[in-house]
Symmetry: C2
Subunit: 157 residues, 2 copies
């Protein structure tokens, strides 16, 4: 069995176990240097946290293990095709590769596809079903928010 298959089997076994524990059928592992660094399962039903996806939880656990928000060089193995939230989280963390076993097409008959969220998010903001508004309010009595942050980064300049 290749490393890739082994890590996917690990993610799948986590997903099966999560179903046994009354959770949703998703598991993920974060791998670095051919070793499992951290794992996660979908915990939405247990925690009521809508962001508690397997991949997000695995990324969060990996960051705590490395004491770093930068997961460059890590690969995510997921039982199912990651949703856009988890895909973006991987990018924010510097993940270089993701591999998944069950596709959105596999999930569709079971209501377990996030294809519609992908489709929605591919549209211009003005055409999406969620209203997205840019209202350029500023706190006029203060220095610009981002200028303030920039100055804090370089206090001696």
């Amino acid at each position: 069995m290749s490393d890739e298959q082994r890590f996917l089997v690990n993610a799948l076994e986590l997903a099966y176990a999560n179903v046994e524990n009354n959770g949703r059928p998703f598991g993920a592992v974060v791998v670095k240097d051919r070793e499992v660094l951290a794992t996660g399962v979908n915990e939405i039903l247990r925690t009521n946290d809508p962001t508690s996806h397997a991949e997000l939880n695995a990324i969060r656990a990996a960051s705590q293990k490395l004491h770093s928000a930068n997961l460059a060089g890590c690969t995510v193995y997921a039982s199912g095709q990651p949703c856009p939230m988890c895909m973006a989280a991987m990018r924010l963390a510097g993940i270089s590769e993701v591999v998944y076993a069950y596709s959105n097409d596999d999930g569709t008959p079971f209501g377990l596809s996030t294809a519609k969220i992908y489709e929605e998010m591919a549209k211009p903001f003005s055409e999406q079903s969620m209203k997205i508004n840019h209202v350029p309010v500023r706190l006029s009595s203060r220095i610009g928010l981002y200028e303030k942050w920039q100055r804090k980064q370089t206090p001696n300049v």
Copy 2:
């Protein structure tokens, strides 16, 4: 001052305070029935958690307050344009509307834009810089993962 302006000012004040506390310049509030239900700030630098964005933290806090992963009827007010992770999280939570004050264009000169992540994610999987692979591994000795989950949902059928 309109409700919309008031909630954006609230999000901005959270962002300013977060900079004072050595955090990144982002704050968000979740509003339901014209009241602030929960707030969040960017805590990446404090926690090393790459998913610790203001909007995501506000959504998580709101879900805990409502004891529900379903935030239908809630609006998110964010100091800055939400990244794709947070946008997708809002959709997963059933958020109906998001309003933001600082745009990605405003953030670009400060390195605070997520426009490149949006651009990347708009491409087909095969053309993105992060490698995305579908490898349909299955645990052949077991019932299908999604079938197993489905049976668990309807134990008496």
